[in-house]
């Protein structure tokens, strides 16, 4: 849905640091959401860990940089990296162009697909969260 000029597709699950997750067979696809993308500006570097790297729920497993900002990417679930979007190596700007499509970042093999349900999901929940986030960032800027 469109909310306060941010595009936040309803069917996706959202990790509180502004990454989206969706199911694709028995894997999860992960990327940056529109809110973070707009805040960050032009993405210049995306860290792409090796396939097979184990990730732990809530722990940082990669970083993303724009000209002025270094963002940490936290694992939305327990699992391992099953794939990365190699295009981002030479064209990190894909995230700015199409953060939900061509700009996807990681593919994850979750230990337990059920953990996805713990993420933010659904129009009401996402809107409430986003309202808080907008206020939070407005104060500090």
């Amino acid at each position: 849905m469109e909310f306060e000029s941010y595009n936040m597709p309803d069917e996706l699950y959202y990790e509180p640091n502004h990454y989206w997750v969706r199911q694709e067979g028995d894997l999860l696809v992960m990327g940056m959401d529109d809110f973070a993308r707009k805040l960050a500006g032009q993405i210049v570097f995306v860290q792409l860990p090796d396939e097979g790297k184990a990730i732990k729920l809530g722990k940082k497993f990669a970083s993303v940089e724009s000209g002025k900002w270094l963002g940490k990417v936290y694992a939305p679930v327990n699992g391992e990296i099953a794939g990365v979007n190699e295009e981002l190596e030479t064209n990190p700007g894909l995230i700015n162009q199409d953060c939900y499509g061509a700009g996807w970042m990681y593919k994850i093999k979750p230990d337990d697909m059920g953990e996805v349900q713990n993420l933010l999901h659904g129009t009401e929940a996402v809107q409430k969260w986003l309202t808080e986030e907008i206020a939070k960032f407005a104060k500090s800027s």
Binding site: D50, W69, L70
Partner: protein
């Protein structure tokens, strides 16, 4: 005709000396990565010449080239006429700022340093689990990149100093703010005074830093004179470590990337190599080394303002690492490590780190 701008008052004669030979195209990293003569050193001099002749004026149109120079001085080093392009650019940037034509990244940086004590506007530096001492023989000054981006390298440096039982302390650092003068702004006096105060308070006889840029700033800028007047020496950790007998060894094929700020700008080429050769006898030079070293692309504010080109420049340097056959490239600058690491492709199996980090890793292996 009366000179309109500072750059002309200070450097008219040099700008006129540029004979347009174009030899700088062979070494300018920005030109090498973009093949755009407007961004080359010669291009910049031609523009400034036209400003001096009243053909064009300083304006926003010139931002893209005047603020896209890593100040690596490769051009100066190779210029038959000895034109000091980076020095001229720095003053021209000041003139641009004065007329309100500055790259937003740098106006932003100046503003950030008014409100924060680091260029990233971060609120908290890691404290690396070290207690700050009231008094110590040395102060270890990390610099912003070391505190907020290449924290592993800083952690490693501190571990090495600990293992060597060096009497040092960290301080609550503020950005040395040297970068401001390179992009047209004055040094931030509040931050400078903070640093001087905190360093002097420890009674340290010397400052060891991991950042060649901070080293240059603390050693060279007049605003830091009070520090030097009290006899405090500022050195880069490469100079500090060279006399230690670390007793470590590796057979890995290792090469060294001369950071512009340590090499061409400070003339320090051999100390890092002395240390490295003791550790890694299987040492090879890169195709361009010592004063001919290829800039990693991060300096002069370019990584902040023109990140894509900056990373492309780093990619060119990594190609040279591949050519040399080295598996490890060591350097003495966190900014270089950062840019080269970002530029490294997944298929390139190269380790990029500071010499101190490498020493730390060898120490860990030995245990």
């Amino acid at each position: 005709m009366e000179a309109k701008y500072d750059f002309e008052r200070k450097y008219r004669e040099q700008i006129l000396r540029c004979s347009r030979c174009g030899f700088c195209q062979a070494v300018c990293p920005v030109y090498g990565a973009t093949l755009r003569p407007g961004l080359n050193a010669r291009g910049k001099m031609l523009l400034l010449k036209e400003v001096m002749d009243g053909r064009i004026d300083l304006s926003n149109d010139l931002i893209e080239t005047l603020f896209q120079c890593t100040t690596c001085a490769s051009c100066t080093h190779n210029c038959p006429s000895g034109v000091e392009v980076p020095e001229i650019i720095k003053v021209a940037r000041k003139d641009m700022v004065d007329i309100g034509s500055c790259h937003p990244a740098f106006t932003g940086m100046n503003e950030v340093l008014q409100k924060h004590d680091n260029i990233y506007a971060e609120d908290e530096a890691g404290d690396f689990g070290r207690q700050k001492k009231a008094q110590a023989k040395y102060v270890f000054f990390s610099g912003c990149v070391g505190l907020y981006r290449e924290t592993e390298a800083t952690e490693a440096a501190l571990d090495v100093l600990d293992k060597l039982e060096v009497d040092y302390t960290l301080i609550e650092e503020a950005c040395c703010s040297g970068v401001l003068e390179d992009v047209g702004f004055p040094l931030n006096s509040a931050l400078v005074e903070t640093n001087i105060e905190r360093i002097l308070a420890t009674g340290a006889e010397a400052v060891i830093t991991g950042c060649p840029y901070c080293a240059r700033t603390l050693n060279g800028k007049t605003q830091y004179a009070p520090l030097r007047a009290r006899g405090v020496i500022v050195m880069h950790i490469a100079q500090f470590l060279k006399d230690f007998d670390l007793g470590l060894r590796t057979d890995k094929k290792v090469t060294y990337h001369d950071p512009c700020d340590l090499g061409r700008h400070c003339g320090i080429y051999e100390e890092p190599r002395e240390t490295i050769r003791k550790l890694a006898p299987n040492f090879v030079e890169l195709p361009h080394h010592h004063a001919d070293a290829l800039c990693c692309g991060a300096g002069g504010g370019v990584r902040g303002a023109y990140a894509k080109n900056s990373i492309d420049m780093a990619r060119r340097r990594l190609k040279e690492v591949e050519e040399s056959g080295a598996e490890v490239v060591l350097t003495e600058c966190n900014s270089c490590v950062h840019n080269l690491s970002n530029a490294k492709l997944r298929k390139q199996k190269i380790t990029i780190c500071t010499t101190t980090q490498f020493i730390h890793d060898l120490m860990e292996e030995a245990e």
